[in-house]
Symmetry: C2
Subunit: 671 residues, 2 copies
């Protein structure tokens, strides 16, 4: 129900009795203006200097039913209110072409907000502003860290708290609503103000949708019925770990054998180098011409069939960029499938010592052609999954087939790329059987990305880019409707003196039992970083943790069911199920794994005990069977292999958890 209240210079817009917009002449709901942006791009890292030429408060307004025109002098914005599926829809239209737009949504001082895509530094976004622009998140992401200092110095790649692969103009508020703005333009969502949220865009957005619900479960359900939900996660993912290995068939089958001989449950081999290798100063890179390297992986189709028999999937890698002067590049170029530069030539992008063209996904023919590349070069081989990498890099100065300014397509690119993969899987009747994982995202990833991964963390313990950062990442993508995500076990980026240790790998391993699925990565510099296959005791730990993952399969299937039916994410903020618990809203390094399991991973080095906040409920410690009453902080021991995990006494999976406790409790030791 829409309600509009007018009084003198005051205007209030309610939906379902909740105040959405409160306009006064000293607190105008809308501003329009103009600006000029200077954007510098260095390998996916963007420096954006926005010169705001004008910002005009639309103080005056006139209402006619559900059409309201806000204006100042000759400039006006008309908004049109309607209700669809019990959601409030607001359509926008300005009377002049302007390129800067600000809108204020009513807020309360104590309100908290979550989402805006994947946010790796802060789950609660309040008191900060968030530029929404898909990019490399940066190395370090914290100006106080030396990692960031050196990443900025050498590569302009330090990042900051808000830099993300996956920005989205969508958030969830503790006022119990979700909000989405229909725009791909660069935006800044500013949550620093006590009585409004200011949403800023480089265009007049088409519309906004806001939906108030009773609780967070309803919010997730409603939001994901709006975004649509992803396909079912393939069941084989619950049967073990995906080993991220490379170096050719003989080598990777050797790793598999080694792992299995230690009792590791393996669900897949992820061989990103299926198309060959490239070497740069950054480390070992892939050969970006996406077709099987038959020398490295001879007779792969038959090998895959053999692997299928023992329920081990084979996984690969692809991205929407093509190595210059190679076969796919040439084919795309000849067919005019590549994005162009201002001179009308193929746009060539430097990826760090090698150059690539960009498949123009706005060209339906190019889109279909690349979809067929995925079908023929990957799916036809029997491949069950891949990393669909690099959606962030669309340069703002390229010329696209659809004629839209690349600045406005930049944020749309990840979802176009997701859709290309989605359709390849859908059209081969493989939804729910074949999957891919993406780091870049945007509005629509909820549906078109079969799963996410958190991207390239530094191989260390730093808060904003190390192991801890994948937890707020999972919670923020989850709260806006992406149920399935995970992270590289062990992290990825080894630069500026950061080298992966055995301890880091093992903490990451035990943490990721409690994510959608488990996958390792060798990182950008495999030979100088710790690898599981170098260490028997780590392989033994992998056997333990993957066995627990397999033991959790019935629970995992239940979580996937919930994701399909309600859009609930696998990793959830505690407040989703304990909305009355005010402490829960401030926790970003512990989470619920489904409704029944509480996890607070160990994200610091050399830690032997962990303090965990338990919400009000009856909890049982997974490794000792000790009962705890919630609504308090408890301390538990946390030797490696025993991450702080609790389950609900009243869970309908109680027996399953009890059995894990029996089988995997800390034999002999006390926690």
């Amino acid at each position: 129900m829409i309600k509009i209240e007018q009084k003198d210079h005051n205007l209030k817009i309610y939906h379902n009795d909740q105040l959405v917009i409160h306009h006064t002449d000293t607190n105008p709901a809308f501003y329009l203006g103009s600006g000029t942006a200077h954007i510098e791009n260095y390998r996916g890292n963007y420096e954006i200097d926005d010169y705001i030429e004008s910002r005009i408060p639309l103080i005056d307004f006139q209402c006619q039913d559900y059409e309201i025109t806000f204006s100042y002098y000759m400039l006006s914005l008309s908004i049109s209110l309607s209700e669809v599926d019990d959601r409030l829809i607001v359509d926008f239209k300005s009377n002049q072409p302007v390129n800067r737009f600000w809108m204020r949504i009513y807020a309360t001082p104590e309100e908290k907000v979550y989402g805006c895509g994947e946010q790796a530094s802060y789950f609660n976004l309040r008191n900060r502003d968030y530029p929404l622009w898909t990019s490399e998140p940066g190395v370090g992401r914290d100006k106080h860290s030396l990692t960031t200092y050196y990443a900025n110095l050498f590569d302009k790649a330090g990042g900051d708290y808000y830099t993300t692969y996956y920005p989205e103009p969508t958030f969830v508020s503790t006022r119990r609503y979700w909000l989405h703005v229909d725009s791909n333009a660069y935006a800044i969502f500013d949550f620093k103000h006590s009585d409004y949220h200011e949403l800023f865009f480089w265009e007049v957005p088409k519309s906004m949708v806001i939906s108030f619900k009773q609780d967070y479960k309803d919010i997730l359900k409603d939001l994901t019925s709006y975004t649509k939900r992803p396909p079912r996660l393939p069941e084989f993912l619950h049967d073990g770990i995906i080993l991220g290995v490379q170096g050719g068939l003989e080598k990777v089958l050797g790793y598999l054998k080694q792992a299995e001989s230690h009792g590791v449950k393996v669900s897949g081999l992820w061989c990103q180098d299926w198309a060959g290798h490239n070497y740069t100063s950054f480390g070992k890179r892939l050969y970006w011409n996406w077709r099987l390297d038959e020398k490295l992986y001879p007779d792969l189709k038959n090998v895959i069939k053999e692997l299928d028999k023992k329920n081990v999937a084979f996984l690969t890698y692809i991205c929407p960029f093509l190595l210059k002067n190679e076969t796919l590049f040439n084919e795309a170029k000849d067919n005019h499938y590549l994005a162009l530069n201002q001179d009308g030539d193929s746009y060539i992008l430097d990826f760090g010592e090698f150059d690539c063209g960009i498949v123009d996904l706005t060209n339906p023919k190019a889109f279909n052609w690349y979809k067929n590349v995925i079908k023929h070069n990957i799916i036809d081989l029997g491949i069950k999954g891949w990393m669909a990498d690099f959606g962030e890099y669309l340069p703002v100065d390229c010329v696209l087939h659809n004629g839209v300014d690349a600045k406005l397509m930049h944020n749309a690119w990840p979802v176009l790329w997701a859709k290309c993969n989605y359709e390849a899987v859908e059209e081969t009747q493989n939804l729910g059987k074949v999957f891919y994982f993406m780091r870049a995202g945007g509005h629509g990833s909820q549906h078109y990305s079969t799963s996410m991964w958190a991207g390239d963390q530094s191989v260390n313990w730093e808060t904003h880019d190390g192991i801890a950062s994948v937890i707020p990442s999972a919670l923020s993508t989850g709260i806006i409707g992406n149920p399935f995500t995970h992270s590289d076990i062990g992290g990825y980026t080894s630069l500026h003196g950061n080298i992966r240790t055995k301890e880091l790998f093992e903490r990451w391993l035990e943490m990721n039992v409690f994510s959608s699925y488990m996958r390792t990565h060798e990182g950008n510099r495999p030979s100088t970083n710790f690898q599981f296959y170098q260490d028997d005791s780590t392989l033994n730990l992998m056997a333990r943790m993957t066995s627990i993952k397999v033991a959790l399969k019935p629970y995992m299937l239940h979580l996937v069911d919930e994701a399909m039916e309600y859009g609930y994410p696998v990793q959830r903020p505690i407040f989703m199920h304990y909305p009355e618990d005010s402490t829960a809203y401030n926790l970003q390094y512990e989470f619920l794994f489904g409704a029944d399991v509480m996890v607070k991973p160990v994200v610091h080095s050399e830690q032997s005990t962990q303090e965990v906040y338990l919400p009000e409920d009856d909890w049982i410690h997974l490794w000792t069977g000790t009962h705890y009453q919630g609504e308090q902080r408890v301390n538990v021991g946390c030797p490696i292999g025993y991450p702080p995990v609790f389950y609900r006494k009243n869970s309908k999976f109680r027996e399953l958890f009890d059995n894990i406790t029996k089988e995997y409790h800390n034999k002999g030791g006390s926690l």
Copy 2:
């Protein structure tokens, strides 16, 4: 002559046939708006977050004679044009109380601008924007340096290219004008645009003055007749070096004796610890209760008389802050002479492990009282000079006697502080005999500060905060009318691993022969940094360089005469005397010392030769007598003691320079 041209939506304002303002509806000359600033202050380092609420282009205009009203809807700005002393004066008045103001001054793409106070990173300000806010300049001042990284991390004190003790809304353009805006508000002068300069203020300024002249000499003369010029520099300063030493009378007299025994020409002893010591983690600090410590300096009045006989002045230190609970603080507090906090108590400022009150210089009684402290506690002792330190620190949340918002008084503080010192000297009939040196400044420093010093450089070779940075500092303060400045020989700040070396001290020493006067400083951590009194060969070099300084005295007196009569600075950009030389406008690490001497100091470590650009003229190398034709780059050797210096063959001081060449040429070696 003022000329106004109108045509449709176009308006052009000329002065003396030069275009000053070009208004169109797509390039409005004025914008008004509102904003809210969040200012964080940490020991003189400010983090300013300005939220611009509105920025309204005043597109419409109406002229009536020399009154023009620019407006948009209900908001308007009236400007009134008049001519005084052949300068254009523009007065501003808005019809509504607004706190954000933007003005665009016509510019050409090739134009360069200089000034805006003291600028240590870039002399030519074009293509950057310059926040104008007096503050600590920071340690490192370059986000690419580790010094800056650590200074930010530990003390929020890294600074940036624009941070300065002395900002001023005054600049000189290569379009041959000077411009000043009458406002103390926070400002940003944005020189990044090709066809206008955008000047931004946190208030509607009272007025602007702009004055077009034929050449830079006329600009200096006119600008300093507007600002008024400082008193004459005391003559004793040309008779040698001021030794910055401390530790009590016995110690400093020992240093004097040691220096003199090596043949060093000493003009003064600067003993900043005359009021006693304090120790903090930063280093050795002074005891901020400004009265003689008679234990450290017994019988000082008589000692000064003895020193006077041999033409050695005694110098001290003072700042406008008073150590909490000490005698001056208590006296000021009892008389209500201290600035207050929001609760009406004395405002207490943390200076790094010690707390101080602030003398409220807006209170005429407090101003007079503090003037008398200077007279009685300093001048009456026979003291000839002092560092008048710390004008930058006025906190924006203190309450002042004059009722003006401290945010608007912050930039005015340095000049109030200068005026307090000035009047103490003036009222004791000591102008031209007694002097002080200040780092903080603002509009009026030209008159009220008897000389400047460049503040606390890092004791290293880093571009933006080391030895090199004092050159653009001198040129920028000079070009807007401050003829006399100098820097701490050897630099000051030893933090984050930077330790002063003998080489750095000696390069700084030889450079400062060619500044207004010479003064050493022990730095913030005397015991761990190189000091001249530890090293005989340095003392011998000091004997050489100070003898040259003394030999230059007739030339120095001429430069002081020029400063008095025309406002010409001692250190000048080359283009001041060679305006047709396009290369000259881009040089910021070489300068003219008066009209007849070209200097390019050595500002890198382990350098044996230096490339110097000579403008078109006949030049003679000071250390070899070699003649060079100008308008070319030449290479000269530069062993320590022989900085690259040239003099004009046609100088009327030719004989003086020739004699220096004869006396001080590189005996034996070749350069």
